[in-house]
Symmetry: C2
Subunit: 200 residues, 2 copies
Amino acid sequence: MPPKSNKRAKLLKAARKLIHRQGFQSTTLADIATAADVPLGNVYYYFKTKDDIVRAVVEERTQRFVDLSGQWEQHHDPVERLKCFIQMPITISRSIADHGCPVGSLLQELSKKPDSSDLATQTLQAQLNWVIEQFHQLGCDDPEPLGRHFVASLQGASLLANTLNQPSVIIEQSEQLIQWLHTVVDNRLSIKVGDATGPE
Amino acid sequence: MPPKSNKRAKLLKAARKLIHRQGFQSTTLADIATAADVPLGNVYYYFKTKDDIVRAVVEERTQRFVDLSGQWEQHHDPVERLKCFIQMPITISRSIADHGCPVGSLLQELSKKPDSSDLATQTLQAQLNWVIEQFHQLGCDDPEPLGRHFVASLQGASLLANTLNQPSVIIEQSEQLIQWLHTVVDNRLSIKVGDATGPE
DNA sequence: GTCTATATACAGATAGAC
DNA sequence: GTCTATCTGTATATAGAC
């Protein structure tokens, strides 16, 4: 347990950063090795192939989201949890304006790669499922389209912020999304109040 | 003027298709040459470098949008023109579900390439400017955020349709966008009616 | 576990005959 | 203008010493 090397972690961290900045294909193993301060030949002790590295990066990102969303469970109101979700891209809006959404841009690249489509969509799928679950818990009759709109809005905002190189686009569109979220919740309440067939 | 070879056009067409399916970096000149039925060495007579090819593809796409939007001028109502815009992704929704938005996915890839950011964003910038102009002509006080929301919604929908491999996501989100468009127009009218400082 | 040196493959680009 | 053969660089991956 003790002197276990941290080289694998250093490689993963370097890979995550470089893949976000340069894309997967443009990032060479030599780039990653140099950034992690590990000799090139040693990389293969930790990862059999380059594909193994990107798989580890994606799975780490997915796990990170699972952990984060777990923390958000402390909020009893799903609306508050969804606002936590919106806060994510706002926090890294500078980085998104510079290099795109780390989830969305890698998804686009990997989805064009043969035999990688499951891996490609893994993180966004997890986010989408979680978001839909929140709308479900809010008692929305049809949570799927709402969840898709929610996730699509943020992905679209990220792409546009990247296009214009303006982090403010993320903030601006997030505000519009929060307004939309409130109208959705308000409509649902008014329906529930007047609808004897609703839950409770 | 007479027997001018069509090889350049065939190469461009093949490049457009392959870049959309495989991405720019994964598409080799040999791929393009084979698909266009042109010997590899002959490609360089028409395009100095591989970067020249992708530049031509992007500029062709931008020009195509300019031509299309020009046709839409026959509609006097900007709302009708915006609906024409929405119709674009719907028409190719199967293709988007399979390979992503041809504009958005190439943008993400090129924007990570050094010295390509202007080219990368060219087509989406043209679309965004045109959309904003429509909201401006509608008399909206603040057309920029509205235009960004409009474009972001469709890009987000395309990414999600690709993620889920479901063309229906495009249709579904487009319907939500049209509803939103109508509320924007209705609000603008009610404000204009009650606002003595408005235009006219 | 770590690292140097290198094998292998392939893609962009060029030379030069026709 | 067209095409074959090939050069050159570079990236993944491996061999094998330590």
